[in-house]
Amino acid sequence: MSVILLLTFLFPAVLSLNGQEVPVYSFAQFEQLLQKRNDTTYVLNFWATWCVPCVKELPDFEKAGVHFNNKKFRLVLVSLDFKSQINSSLIPFLKAKKIRSGVILLSEPDPNSWIDKVNRNWTGSIPMTIIYNRDFYFFREGSMSFSELENILTKNIIP
């Protein structure tokens, strides 16, 4: 059951790369992804095309995605771009930068009602990254490098 749910949630994101579609998640849908504390290690990077430090660190996340590709690992780039700009900004950006990781758009009004549910320590600025599995949880508000990601993932991915 959980596998089916997992597929439902993550495959649209992965398939979007070629289909040039970005699945739009409400917070209720997105929350199910947050609650997956199993033996897959999730890396959720909150970003947007208009966020300069986010765009700068994307190649490091892409590199980590490739590096840990054969492990029990999922990288999801959670875009906070404006919903009205999916076709005008987000998709052209993903194509131009040849982004290969799964991308979803989180579109939910009233961030005040859900920011704390993602992480209580999050003030709401991006980039923000959470990494988690059954045994491990990591939160960073701010940029991350490939070497940091590699270090954390090497230590915590469940074999």
Binding site: A48, W50, C51, V52, P53, L80, F82, K83, S84, P109, D110, P111, N112, I115, D116, W122, T123, G124, S125, I126, G142
Partner: protein
């Protein structure tokens, strides 16, 4: 002696970083004197008749700030006359965010016809003191005797993208509450926004 100076410097920096959270609701806020887009300086003490201030850290380049420009103008137009003028402060370092330079602030203020001061926090001291971490980031202050008390911190409203769908006007509800002699509830909200761009020297 040199060592002590260095240590003290590190201590100051550490204190600044530790207080990156800045003000909390109920704290006493400090006044400032910062340069406006018209070349003159503005201080909260220039407004003896104000009941308080809507201090908004905002900037040119951030799409969230841009999305809120018209709403900020409307809030200033409505509440200035009621004693709560908007004071906008650009918190960003222009070497990190060139679109937020002083000259570009002047251009943007003219283009949009800002009805409120748009100040530059050159050394980012007020940004650190207030604890603005993103743009736009609101600090609603109420004059109480000689003090300025922080009464609300957070978002302008509930929906940055679709103003017509806003059902929770956090900021104007908070100002209305103060005008009625009540305590704003909520006094604190979170929002998505662009990070404040600090000068490299303060970060490294």
């Amino acid at each position: 002696m040199k060592k002590i100076t260095i240590l003290f410097g590190v201590f100051i920096l550490a204190t600044q970083l530790a207080f990156a959270g800045g003000y909390k609701v109920g704290d006493k806020a400090t006044d400032f004197r910062l340069k406006n887009v018209d070349g003159k300086t503005v201080s909260l003490s220039d407004y003896p008749d104000a009941k308080g201030f809507v201090v908004i850290f905002t900037c040119n380049h951030c799409p969230f700030s841009v999305a809120y420009e018209d709403r900020i103008i409307a809030i200033d137009q409505k509440y200035k006359g009621l004693g709560y003028p908007v004071i906008a402060i650009n918190p960003n370092d222009s070497t990190v965010a060139p679109a937020d330079s002083y000259s570009k602030m002047i251009v943007r203020a003219e283009e949009k016809g800002f009805t409120f001061p748009y100040l530059i926090d050159d050394n980012q001291q007020m940004t650190l003191t207030y604890g603005a971490t993103r743009t736009p980031h609101v600090f609603l202050l109420e004059k109480t005797g000689d003090d300025l008390i922080v009464r609300y911190i957070g978002a302008i409203d509930y929906n940055h993208e679709f103003p017509e769908k806003v059902t929770k006007n956090y900021l104007t509800n908070a100002i209305d509450a103060l005008l009625e002699g009540k305590t704003p509830d909520p006094g604190f909200t979170k929002a998505i926004g662009c990070t404040v761009k600090f000068a490299k020297k303060q970060r490294d």
